[in-house]
């Protein structure tokens, strides 16, 4: 028996070990894959608004006050899931939510917002995915919180909920800024 013939069995065993661990509820620390951007300056971007290619949209316009950046796309099931929650969050706070429509069909995106409601103060387009790369996005949806100093102070991988907003996002901001 040669060691190299054990490679397939060993790799599959590792995968199954992982499934098992996950099923049995291991206490894995989600902070481990937190963004290296945390507490650093938010990466700049300049793009145009969805549906209006003449209207520029850039990081500069929002610096000075806290804001939220949400990466989404109509191809993403998790985004549809979080959409009502984003609407609820937008209703609860006056902090602007900037949507970045990631590698998406513009018509479909406009349709989506018309159909489901628009929680975003502005939606920028990211056709080539460069903004998402600069922000280190793992996958959609992903949401970043930027403070008044322009630093990324928190991020959420996966769908946002009102609960996450209250406990993880709003709690990190000065009380006066949120409502």
């Amino acid at each position: 028996m040669k060691a190299r013939f054990l490679i397939p069995a060993a790799s599959v065993a590792v995968l199954f070990g992982f499934f098992w661990y996950a099923l049995k509820g291991g206490n894995y620390d989600p902070q481990l894959i937190d963004s290296p951007l945390i507490n650093r300056a938010a990466p700049g971007f300049s793009t145009v608004r969805l549906g209006d290619p003449n209207q520029p949209l850039g990081l500069q316009q929002y610096l000075g006050k806290p804001f939220v950046v949400n990466f989404w796309g109509t191809w993403c099931a998790g985004c549809r899931q979080e959409h009502p929650e984003l609407l609820a969050i937008a209703h609860e706070t006056r902090i602007p939510i900037i949507g970045i429509d990631w590698k998406d069909d513009h018509a479909a995106a406009a349709n989506w917002l018309a159909e489901l409601g628009n929680p975003f103060q502005a939606v920028g387009i990211d056709d080539d995915g460069k903004i998402a790369i600069d922000w280190g996005v793992y996958g959609a949806p992903e949401t970043f919180l930027v403070d008044a100093q322009g630093r990324v102070i928190h991020k959420q991988v996966g769908p946002m909920t009102l609960d996450v907003w209250r406990k993880e996002f709003a709690a990190r901001l000065p009380a006066g800024a949120v409502k």
Binding site: F16, G73, W75, C76, V157
Partner: protein, 650 residues
């Protein structure tokens, strides 16, 4: 009463599956003829009892027996008869029973058609299949029993998910599962060969037709699913890179690699341990796919965790089957050295590249599919690695794959003999370049590099595939079925690439809001909304639009009736698109919402050559049918029985 009969039949089938495994494997190991003699009848009996259990569930659905929990959850007295049958596999428990029945039928077919194989080998194959059957049946009986009763019985059922109430989707799971599960036969052949420590060219010849048949069912099943998504989901897409689709596509890629590597093993005795590994992985991916989908683990992790017994049981089964086989592989693969040599431009090399590229494609898709799942299992939330990732990473291996295919089809075994073919290849390349340029000018009047590359590869593949049988005919040489099958399937690959390239590059679509009497223009066609009315179906009411389409010269080309249905029981709205089909294009109208004041939102689409994509896939399957019925597979058994080919010990 029927449900109880089904339950008993299932228990008896489990007993027979266990005997099939024990008598088959122990009998063959000890060389006990009387034990081996029991294996075949046990297998056929198992198939009979699982089929009986399945029929009992069907009859419970047909009789609207809502005292059976599964029927109450997935059917309704208003549901049309066809869909009452399809509802059997509309949810988890019934799907698992369908899975078990198809595995049992495949096992039964192996039992009946394997008389020409050495008895010990056949018994080991059936024994391995028996272990898989026993595991699945135990899983159904302990955690997913479709025959559980509910007391008191509800007056009516909860209805089948309206998305599934469609003829193409009713047929989709049985065909898809026949493909998935059919790879179990290749898996069992591989395990039996490893137990015996013997794997030679005859083994590859026995395994190949079974694998091709499973593959062609999988191909057809995936095609049906894609076609269904196109007209039923209402947005005109034909592939979404959804985890459920990926789960069926990964075994397809591995299976495609397997039928090609089996060719090299059969003809030249090469790549033996690799072929074995592919046979194991193809079925492992099918298992992984079925369970990822069926357990709901991908869509919602919590549904999986909510029944911990089901999750752990599934994981245990997968681990037993896959790790057991791979451990056996680790012990035996070292003995399967092959010594045949070949040159760089020989068919062996092309098949090797084919395998490497297909496996790269499958791995990239596996990575993209499991990544969100892993994050979700780690409670990091649900994310989508959507089409942007898959479209990009899939093109990376596929473009060189097509390029190699164009040349590789003409290569010879063992020796590099490209030189005499140079003339033919140059002709094909020139013709393909001209055709690609003309086509792109015809559709858009402008050229884009990637589209030109796609068109060129597609057309050159089709021409290259056609040239092989025609060249033989011209020279009055016989064309074996295997070669015809190969040419037809690869022609299908080219057709598919043509349809996919043109449809994605030159489609155009518009979301418009129209009042009755207004019209909108897409790709030179005028779409006029002329009427809106309510229509009634057997279990739904629908709002139906009438859209008259005329071309640039004002001639009416089609009148479409897209619908927005509301099913009475579950009250979900469903889109039923109106589609006009010709050889050159589809015109597609989906009805959206009422925007008030008599204005309706409509999605209008023009999809050139999109039919070629599904037609191409069906050509691939057709090629499989032709190749699998090659004479050498039909007579192989007879030669073995007379001892004409002496199996060599590896």
């Amino acid at each position: 009463m029927n449900a109880e009969l089904g339950q008993i039949a299932l228990i008896l089938a489990l007993c027979l599956a266990v005997s099939q495994a024990v008598f088959g494997l122990v009998g063959a190991a000890r060389g006990w003829g009387n034990w081996m003699a029991v294996t075949r009848p046990a297998t056929v009996g198992q198939a009979g009892f699982v089929a009986l259990a399945f029929l009992m569930l069907v009859s419970a659905f047909l009789a609207n027996d809502f005292s059976v929990q599964y029927v109450a959850t997935n059917s309704n007295s208003q549901l049309p008869t066809l869909y009452r049958v399809a509802a059997v596999w509309g949810a988890h428990e019934g799907s698992m029973l369908l899975w078990a029945m198809i595995l049992a039928l495949w096992s039964g077919a192996v039992a009946l058609l394997s008389r020409s194989l050495p008895q010990g080998f056949a018994c080991r194959v059936l024994g391995v299949l028996g272990i898989i059957s026993a595991g699945i049946l135990l899983f159904i009986l302990l955690t997913s029993n479709p025959f559980s009763r509910i007391l008191p019985a509800p007056f009516d059922g909860n209805d089948l998910n309206p998305l599934l109430q469609d003829p193409a989707l009713a047929m989709h799971p049985p065909i898809l599962y026949t493909g998935y599960v059919g790879f179990a036969v290749a898996f069992a052949f591989a395990c039996a060969a490893m137990i015996e420590g013997r794997l030679d060219q005859t083994w590859a010849r026995w395994t190949r037709p079974w694998t091709i048949v499973a593959w062609l069912f999988l191909t057809t099943g995936i095609t049906l699913g894609s076609w269904w998504a196109y007209y039923e989901l209402g947005w005109g897409g034909w592939w979404m890179w959804d985890p459920v689709e990926n789960a069926s596509f990964m075994p397809w890629l591995a299976g495609t690699a397997l039928i090609h590597s089996l060719a090299a093993t059969e003809k030249r005795g090469l790549y033996r341990s690799w072929t074995l590994l592919l046979a194991l992985f193809t079925f492992s991916l099918s298992l992984l796919g079925t369970f990822l989908v069926r357990s709901g683990i991908i869509v919602s992790v919590h549904a999986f965790a909510s029944d911990p017994l089901r999750g752990v049981f599934i994981l245990g089964l997968l681990a037993t089957f896959i790790l057991g086989a791979l451990t056996l592989y680790a012990m035996r693969a070292g003995q399967l050295r092959s010594s045949a040599g070949f040159e760089l431009w020989s068919r062996e090399s092309f098949l090797l590249f084919n395998n490497v590229l297909l496996i790269i494609a499958a791995s990239l898709i596996l990575l993209g599919t499991l990544y969100p799942l892993l994050l979700a299992l780690l409670e990091l939330g649900t994310i989508s690695v959507g089409p942007p990732y898959f479209q990009l990473v899939f093109l990376v291996p596929v473009i060189p794959l097509l390029g190699l295919l164009i040349v590789g089809m003409h290569s010879a075994w063992k020796r590099a003999r490209i030189a005499p073919l140079k003339q033919r290849l140059v002709g094909i390349v020139v013709a393909a370049v001209i055709a690609a340029v003309l086509l792109s000018l015809l559709f858009a009047g402008r050229m884009r590099t990637m589209v030109l590359v796609g068109l060129f590869l597609a057309i050159a593949t089709m021409l290259s595939a056609l040239s092989i049988p025609f060249d033989s005919l011209r020279r009055r040489l016989p064309v074996p079925r295997g070669v015809v099958g190969m040419a037809v399937a690869h022609f299908g690959v080219g057709m598919f690439a043509l349809g996919a390239t043109v449809a994605s590059a030159y489609q155009s679509e518009r979301d418009v809001s129209l009042a009755i009497g207004q019209s909108a223009n897409v790709a030179g066609y005028d779409f006029k909304l002329t009427d809106m009315r309510m229509v009634e179906g057997p279990n739904y009411v629908a709002r139906e639009a009438e859209v008259i389409i005329s071309d640039a010269k004002g001639r009416v080309v089609a009148t479409l009736h897209p619908q927005k249905r509301t099913y009475r029981v579950q009250q979900n709205p469903m889109t039923e698109a109106g589609i006009d089909v010709t050889w050159q294009r589809d015109l597609f109208v989906a009805l959206g919402d009422n925007l008030g004041e008599g204005v309706w939102s409509l999605r209008l689409q023009y999809k050139p050559l999109i039919r070629y994509l599904w037609l191409g896939a069906l050509f691939m399957a057709l090629g499989g049918i032709i190749a699998a019925t090659d004479r050498r597979y039909r007579t192989a058994g007879a030669r073995e029985a007379t001892g004409e080919t002496v199996p060599e010990r590896a």
